[in-house]
């Protein structure tokens, strides 16, 4: 029988940490506490646990997301979920889509395809209710013995403790439970407790930005309908004049409809069933049969914290930054925060990188948040023009877009989430050699079909457990120079996994190449379709160093013996330049 994730409740259990009482300063110091069991907190906790870090995840509630909330999960998020071992269930349950259509009144202006090329394991987007995403993440989390989730554990106090001669810097959280308060201590805390973050408030910090004077009604309705699995966006439709409407399909015959309401409406009145039903009937027709699943009225706002790091507390997801929803940049951006912070915490806690590596989490993700906020603000300015002249230009664009292709490129109903390219990260080693394509230092790796031991497989399935060296070769052996560079970086003491990509032109059976790779703890993938070579501009001898979050940090046409080691040091922030 299918699990009803919306009504699922998790049991509060008393933990040994609570026996020491609220007063003791000598409680056990956990490596990491994650606050907030939403998609971001769960992902961060699973990632850390998979990397061998013991994690305590606390949440003030005992259930999953109320209502569908975040519904669009991007390809990059699915790639991250693959690494966390739970994408398959999500893709199976989710509605795949890649086509968006934009209408003016009842006329189709244009449509776009978000994944025009094949050869990717995951689709451009799936729509899946947030409670399913959280449910699947929890099922994964429950299989990790070093990940403990504590429900009904609410953070009500926080104290950052500086480093002393006897102790590392740490954080003491006061936790309120049904059994009273206790102190939970951790070296580091990941605060992923949402847009109304208690952690942020307790530290007297703000997420600053703009609120737009517009309101939107979200209605999730359940119905049998034959709209295709596409994103449909209307400007000024006949059934909802002068405003915009978005229609999206979710699993279980649930449909998300966003109605723009304008500023001068009563949000309480608009949530009443009579109001919602009449708006939905205007769209679907007077005889439409449907049930209302969930309704919410929200206001656009874009904001972020000045810094995502405060002492040993690292903010992630909506706690750190907020965007308006047209663009699916909230949850997807937050998942990239989790992806970024987990490996860095693991490296610092293992003593393999200095604490300052965590500053790069803040800088990289602040940059990404700015990019998301910029895109989201631009969409909002188009959907909700702020001045009469802005409205004139918006309508002029829409008018021109009917017949003139150039104007379609200006129509902005949301620029959908793509991963930020961390171009200026201090962890990148700038290119010395010329390269074509998208896989520049700072980019997250794209997928490609490969063969592994004669079986069809995907490139991304082989990278991201640790640092990876990706070596493209057409030879039947790994050359002495390549071996020297790889051996040298491996001797550094930080796990680096070797992935050899045998180019399509390789005629050799590969037995010796496989043996060479195996001698360095690596394995060989075959680029049967030539797509890995194309997407990575991989030529014989091309080498990439990839971070544990699947981001390129360095690449060479022919690496010198000390190149890999220097780039690894840089990516760990240990060479003094970070």
């Amino acid at each position: 029988m299918a699990i009803d994730y919306q009504t699922l409740r998790f049991e509060y259990r008393r933990h040994a940490d609570q026996e020491t009482g609220a007063q003791t300063p000598f409680a056990q110091v956990h490596p990491v506490v994650v606050v907030g069991a939403g998609p971001v907190g769960l992902s961060a906790a699973i990632d850390l646990a998979q990397r061998g870090v013991s994690v305590v995840l606390v949440d003030d509630d005992d259930g999953l997301s109320t209502g569908s909330r975040a519904i669009c999960f991007s390809k990059r998020s699915l790639d991250i979920f693959d690494r966390l071992g739970c994408a398959e269930a999500m893709v199976e349950k989710g509605v795949r889509w890649h086509v968006g259509k934009v209408f003016l009144k009842d006329e189709l202006l244009y449509s776009f395809d978000l994944l025009p090329e094949s050869g990717h394991r995951r689709p451009a987007f799936i729509n899946l209710q947030q409670y399913y995403v959280e449910g699947f993440l929890i099922e994964r989390a429950q299989r990790l013995p070093n990940l403990q989730i504590r429900w009904k554990n609410k953070v009500v106090g926080i104290e950052q403790r500086d480093k002393t001669p006897d102790e590392q810097a740490s954080v003491a959280l006061t936790i309120e439970t049904p059994d009273g308060e206790y102190v939970l201590r951790a070296r580091y805390v990941v605060a992923a407790d949402g847009s109304r973050s208690a952690m942020r408030r307790l530290l007297d910090l703000e997420s600053k930005g703009r609120t737009f004077k517009d309101r939107f009604l979200i209605a999730d309705i359940k119905m049998e309908a034959d709209f295709p699995p596409e994103r449909w966006f209307w400007f000024d439709p006949p059934f909802h004049p002068n405003q915009s409407v978005l229609l999206h399909r979710q699993p279980d015959n649930v449909w998300r409809i966003d109605f723009q309401l304008g500023w001068n409406v009563d949000p309480v009145l608009e949530k009443t069933p009579e109001r919602v039903i009449s708006r939905v009937r205007a769209l679907l027709g007077p005889d439409a049969k449907f049930e209302i699943e969930w309704v919410s009225v929200y206001t656009f706002s874009c904001s972020r914290m000045d810094s995502f790091r405060h002492g040993n507390v690292l903010f992630a997801g909506d706690a750190a930054h907020g965007v308006s929803p047209f663009g699916a940049r909230g949850a997807n951006g937050g998942l990239q925060d989790a992806d970024n912070v987990a490996w860095k915490l693991a490296m610092v806690l293992a003593g393999r990188a200095p604490d300052s590596l965590l500053d790069t989490y803040a800088r990289e993700r602040e940059y990404a948040a700015d990019e998301n906020i910029l895109n989201s603000t631009r969409s909002t300015d188009f959907i909700t023009p702020k001045t009469p002249v802005s409205r004139v230009f918006r309508d002029a664009v829409l008018t021109l877009a009917r017949r003139h292709p150039f104007a379609r490129r200006l129509v902005n109903s949301g620029r959908l989430s793509v991963p930020a390219v961390l171009y200026r990260s201090t962890l990148n080693t700038p290119d010395r050699d010329p390269f074509e394509g998208e896989m520049t230092p700072g980019a997250s790796c794209v997928d490609a079909p490969v063969a592994c031991d004669g079986t069809d497989d995907w490139l991304l399935a082989h990278i991201g457990g640790s640092f990876n060296v990706l070596l493209f070769t057409a030879a039947d052996r790994i050359s002495p120079d390549e071996q020297a560079a790889i051996e040298r970086v491996r001797s550094r003491g930080v796990p680096v996994d070797i992935v050899v990509v045998a180019l399509r032109e390789t005629s050799d059976s590969g037995a010796r190449l496989t043996a060479d790779a195996a001698a360095m703890g690596g394995h060989v993938l075959r680029d049967m379709q030539g797509l890995a070579a194309q997407r990575y501009d991989g030529k014989p001898g091309t080498m990439y160093l990839v971070r544990p979050d699947q981001h390129v940090c360095a690449r060479w046409r022919h690496a010198r013996p000390d190149d890999l080691e220097a780039a690894l040091n840089r990516a760990l922030g240990v060479d003094g330049t970070a």
Binding site: V389, V392, F393, D395, A396, V397, T399, L400, H404, F406, A407, L410
Partner: protein, 76 residues
Amino acid sequence: MALNTNPNLTRPDDFYEALIDMHRNLTDEQSQSANAQLILLLANHIGDQATLAEAIRIAREEVLGAPPNDALPPTA
């Protein structure tokens, strides 16, 4: 590509007449829409962002009263 503010129109008086004529019998609202569409069409034709940004800067500064640092062509 720098913004060309030297005379460049092949038939300036004809252009000006056509521009004014574009608004013939239009309501204020229609005129505003026509102006906006014209700007968008021309902007796309120019294409280059730096050139467009230069034009946008000059237009705004002329409205706000820019410091007269670069000589504008004298009006006849």
